[in-house]
Amino acid sequence: MGIRPIPRIVLLLLALAVLALGASGCGRDEDEGNAANSPDTTAQETTSQALSGDVIADGSSTVGPLTTAAAEAYRGEQPDVNVEVGVSGTGGGFERFCAGETDISDASRPIDEEEEAPVCADAGITYVDYQVGIDALTVIVNTENDWATCLTTEQLKKIWEPAAEGKITNWNQVDPSFPDEPLTLAGPGTDSGTFDYFTDEINGEEGASRTDYNASEDDNVIVQAVAGEKGALGYLGFTYFEENMDTLKAVEVDGGDGCVAPSAESAQDGSYTPLSRPLFIYVKDESIQTKPQVKGFVAYYLNNLVSLAEGAQFIPVTQDVIDENLSNLATQEG
């Protein structure tokens, strides 16, 4: 080759430098002051000394974003504490929790007293549960869907029950007044507490569901699947609907008393039935008592629930729940 290749390197470096310089000036809003700060919280100082160490949380993908928001905010308080949040699903989270692998288990349903609690008991793991939010489990459809504004629980059952597999594939089978539009479904997989809760309430038995749908623990996949397909229907936690309100539509649910839309109010006052449910974190006793960083994080989390929930677009719990949480925490700390 006749050309000396060295100048190519120089050109490349120049190009990168220009790229970096030019790009740093434009693009998204530079919140210079807020680069690493937490959302505005009148954070109650839970400890004044510097903590360090790991806090491992895993579990529900519905609760996950709230715990993640708490983790991000906590990083502003205690930068040396590393909080890791996984989203293996409520079931997967409990498995790890009872195997001693995690400190906190995010859960969108209570621990199963028959199947999961004994595993923890056998492993000698004791814990306390705290309610951290309320979820209005939302049924979502595509924005171009103008016929399914309200569905009864019977209609939902018709769509989702095991007998529907391979058979109910069109909207006009759900109700003759609906148009001839192919029905595609998306929803959580079997490790998800959302799945457990929905199947229990709608199909009458936990875990009973048709299987021919786009099943994913990742709620973002569900959003994408429904937003991209006119005849799609799915279900997921309220937060994910709120985050994607411009690309999704929520269906009102008629639980017997008329059509109710999911919202913070209808969830808190109980009118959004049967799909409103409490959200929990389960915290290991041993972690609270022996790991100060876990204690610090949980205390921060529970003290700032309302502001965290608002920042992360969750439905906050009522004050008496918060009070109960704090007194339970004091007991757990021993």
């Binding site: 390197i9 790009a23 809003d29 991000e72 890791e84 996984g86 989203v87 996949v221 994408q224």
Partner: protein
């Protein structure tokens, strides 16, 4: 023997038309790939350029796209690159030296070794991930740590490094070796002092290219690593994330902003790859010995 009209006469119109049509078909085949590549690059740059800034390079991931960055991911990728370099080059070069300088080609086990390496090069990358999951993450209980990711990537690109090193070693003329032997050198002295130094540019080039390929691998890391939220810098025995994983997670988010962030991450990844490739080529051109 019948003589076709083409032998002495000029081309018929039919031939010319067919010839031109064929030529056009070939041109189209060639350009399709590059056209799509070009469109891909333009699309990625257009979507992501606005997000390539210091926040991207330094900050950890966040649920708020305005604050999300790939800092720990980039650091994870760099740490893995270093670990990879340290592990894969000695083993790869060692194997290549064994095969080229020491092994008796006639022996069945050496031939099996060669076939084995060829096969390993073609195993899907996700199977390496399964290997890592079974032995490293679960088997010896290493867990989903940086070291596990680096080990699996080492095994993944080892065949590539071996092949490149072998070619570099083979390119060293035999006269160099014979001359050294004639002066009384032992086999190891010949290898260490004559062959290896001569082959280093080729080995370095091959290693860097293999490394570049490893950096872009995502599938094995899905099974061996990847957490939703990693805020601190990675450590060897700690949880980690890597740039391709971060990109994958961002692509999975439905919000448009995260797609743009993913594009920005891709720009950074491609920049890193381009630099490595250019460096490897420069190295090859600058130091290549002509025998």
């Amino acid at each position: 023997m019948s003589v076709s009209p083409n032998v002495l006469g000029s081309r018929s119109t039919g031939d010319r038309v067919r010839g031109t049509a064929f030529y056009i078909v070939l041109l189209v085949s060639v350009t399709i790939g590059f056209l799509l590549l070009g469109v891909l690059l333009v699309d990625v740059v257009r979507k992501g350029i606005g997000y390539v800034d210091f926040t991207l390079l330094n900050e950890p991931n966040s649920s708020d796209p305005q604050r999300a960055g790939a800092g720990p991911a980039i650091r994870g990728t760099i740490y893995m690159m270093v670990l990879l370099l340290v592990m894969v080059v000695p083993i790869g070069v060692g194997t290549a030296l064994y095969l080229e300088e020491y092994a008796n080609r006639e022996r069945w086990y050496n031939r099996l070794l060669e076939i084995n390496i060829q096969n390993l090069a073609a195993v899907p990358s996700i199977v390496y991930g399964i290997l890592g999951l079974a032995f490293l993450v679960r088997g010896i209980g290493l867990g989903r740590v940086l070291l596990a990711g680096a080990l699996i990537l080492t095994l993944l690109v080892l065949p590539t490094v071996i092949v490149a090193s072998r070619e570099a070693i083979r390119a060293v003329p035999d006269s160099i070796r014979q001359g050294a032997y004639a002066l009384g050198a032992t086999q190891w002295q010949v290898v260490w002092r004559q062959v290896l130094p001569a082959a280093i540019p080729g080995i370095a080039t091959g290693s860097i290219l293999a490394l570049a390929r490893a950096i872009g691998e995502t599938a094995p890391l899905l099974l061996v690593g990847a957490l939703t939220f990693v805020a601190v810098n990675p450590t060897i025995l700690g949880s980690f994330t890597a740039l391709p994983i971060q990109i994958y997670q961002w692509v999975g988010r439905p919000q448009e902003e995260f797609r743009l962030l993913a594009a920005a991450g891709i720009i950074v990844l491609l920049a890193i790859l381009l630099t490595m490739n250019a460096f490897a080529i420069w190295l090859r051109n600058r130091y290549q010995r002509r025998w």
